[in-house]
């Protein structure tokens, strides 16, 4: 579903991502773990076409992102860690905008908006301006907008930050549901317990370089993900 081949990206003299290769298959929830500044967000932004890699290639569903960016973006959704949404729009205005961009017919968008807005308890606030939303409400609106076109691949940067326990639980269910329908999830997190319980595979990144990846069992062995992560961090210090 998502293939990253030898991805490198630098900001000035600082190498944010260095020769990173990963393959996320259909049906997989893939966790991306690393400390602050490890290169997680840069990798995710490059995968969704916001950042242009210095070298390397990204393919979505076999399609090269650099050659066919629009086709690739139609298949995926990106959820940033702190979604800055259009504050001059109402919640429903924003969802209509996103649905128009993806060309979702009125009937389908109504069903999906109502389904997810009810699920995340945001329906009553949809007519209000985004500027009046709390951080958690913005996060929920961003999640609904990401789901509105039923993406096959979801790229998420710290998706659980700011969400209440109920919304967190719902999002985990939605992530699994996308994978069960043949999609894939690639998300970054600092919460190792969540990654341990949710992910089929994980990758650990440090200083822009991949230091370990594989299935959850391959990575952690008999230990906990936390102890493996801390051990690897120490080894590579």
């Amino acid at each position: 579903m998502l293939t990253i081949e030898s991805l490198s990206k630098s900001y000035g003299s600082k190498k944010a991502v260095d020769d990173l290769s990963l393959h996320i298959q259909k049906g997989e929830i893939f966790g991306f773990i690393g400390h602050n500044g490890a290169g997680k967000t840069t990798t995710l932004k490059a995968c969704c076409g916001i950042l242009k890699p210095d070298t390397g290639r990204i393919r979505i569903d076999g399609i090269a992102l650099d050659e066919y960016p629009i086709e690739c973006k139609r298949r995926m959704a990106y959820l940033p860690d702190n979604p800055d949404l259009y504050e001059f729009m109402s919640g429903i205005g924003f969802l209509n905008f996103i649905a128009d961009i993806y060309g979702i017919p009125a009937g389908a968008r109504r069903d999906r908006i109502e389904k997810y807005a009810e699920m995340f308890e945001l329906k009553n606030e949809l007519a209000q301006p985004v500027s009046s939303y709390s951080h958690g409400m913005r996060q929920k609106l961003a999640i609904i907008s990401a789901l509105i076109h039923e993406p096959r691949l979801m790229l998420m940067d710290e998706p659980f930050v700011g969400l209440d326990p109920k919304a967190t639980h719902l999002l985990k269910g939605i992530m699994r549901d996308i994978c069960n329908r043949g999609g894939a999830i690639f998300f970054s997190t600092h919460v190792l317990e969540v990654a341990e319980k949710l992910c089929d595979k994980v990758a650990i990144i440090k200083g822009g370089r991949l230091i370990k990846s594989g299935t959850m069992d391959e990575v952690r062995g008999d230990a906990s993900l936390e102890s493996v992560f801390l051990e690897l961090e120490g080894e590579n210090a």
Partner: protein, 536 residues
Amino acid sequence: MLKALIKKQFLEVFASVFIDKRKGTKRSSGSVILNIALYLLLFGVVAVNIYLVANQLCEPLVSAGLAWFYFALFGLASLLFGVLGSAFSTYNSIYVAKDNEMLFSMPIKPRTILLSRLVSVYLLSLLYTLIVFAPAAAAYFRAAEPGIGGILLVVLAALALALLSSAVSCVLGWLISLVARRLKNKSFVTVLVAILFLGLYYFFYFRISGLLAKILASPLLIANVLKGYIYPFYLMGEGAAGDAVKLLLFALMCIGAAAIVYFIISLGFAKSVISGGSVSSAKKNAVYSESSIKAGSASSALFKKELLRFTSSPNYMLNANIGLVFMVGAAVALLIMGSELRQRLETILTGNYDILALIACGAVCLLSGTNITTASSVSLEGKHIWLPQSLPVDARKALLAKLRLHLTIVLPPLALLLASVIIVFRFPLLESVIMCVVSLLYVLLIALIGLAANLKWTNLHWTNEVIPIKQSMPVFISMFGSFAAILLMGGLYFLLKSAVPPLGFLFIAAVLFGAICFILYRLIVTWGARRYAELG
């Protein structure tokens, strides 16, 4: 505690002198000195103009024993200037200050927070008061030579006047906050009020010489008639002219007014700030209904987004499109006074009347060139740039939506202006058509120049939207580029006028503008689209 808050307010008021808001960094010493010098130059130019007016009035009024009337007039002018200048900043600094929430979470009484805010309002009012009152006082000192005691009384009068000005500004700021919390379309009302203020300013500006002549013709009569209506200013005037008791009375009135305003505002201050925010209650109480789900094309969604961005920001509407007011104003003025103007021009241009189409077209272009919506449209994406970049949107479509917004805003007033020009000056069909074509292409040209410049010099990291809207290279290029284009075309005409008739030159202008538009359009849809996709 109050001292610390007042210190913070002082730092905030003078922040623009010491901090570069574009970069968010501290200015160098040289930059601070240059900044202060620029401010002094700006205020100096205004002050010199006021001094020249004051000088005309001072001697006749003082020698007629009407020094009080002289000070009362300038007191009123400084009050008007101060209130018009600081009403919106008073509203912003009291009700929608960014640190309101933080301060309210601290163990500080709301009245103390309000008092510290009012100190900065007073400081701003004093600044505005002095811009008008100081030159008038200087003219008085020169004419009346009042001595140290007299100078001191004038200074005290200015300080008291600033207190009155800040009290009136606070009342207006409070009214604005009341209205803002109830209105759905706050941005439009803000724009309308700002245009009203601008209209008032120009109204007085254009009538000032007539008013001066009337006052100088019969000062005693006018002073006696007005005395009862402007009694506090009579007291202030007498005080500034030497009567300390009357000045004390005026100062007590000002202190009383300020105290009443402080007391009234403090009653509902905490409630206004906590429940207020920047969102009106009408919007907060909006209810979702199924009918609000509407499908449209990606292009129309992008255009709607640009339109919403535009209409949500009074800063954007006012600064990027103030030309619309001038265009509509010119069209209406032409329809009202057009025949008189036509007769005058027929006399002036005897034998060269065919040049009128060229002049009219140049004037229409000049006015429409003051609209520069696209020059900040890319920078205004700011922290939201991730959205169009991560969505399946062709960057060309996103850029064309910005062009479409510019044309949608400017073309209706342009059509009105062109129609009134054609009707008033009775241009024949061919000239009318070519004028319309040149004006349309010129509007497109300015939009394309602004967009290309903004793509080249993009600032997505602003902290205040005023920076890309007012203080950026693309805005400078668009604004002065539009004037330069007209000047260049004027120069070109004078070079070619022996060989090319005015109508022929309009054809040349149309071809030239069309060619540049085509080149810029190609540049934007190729290089510009790539650049837009990689911004951030």
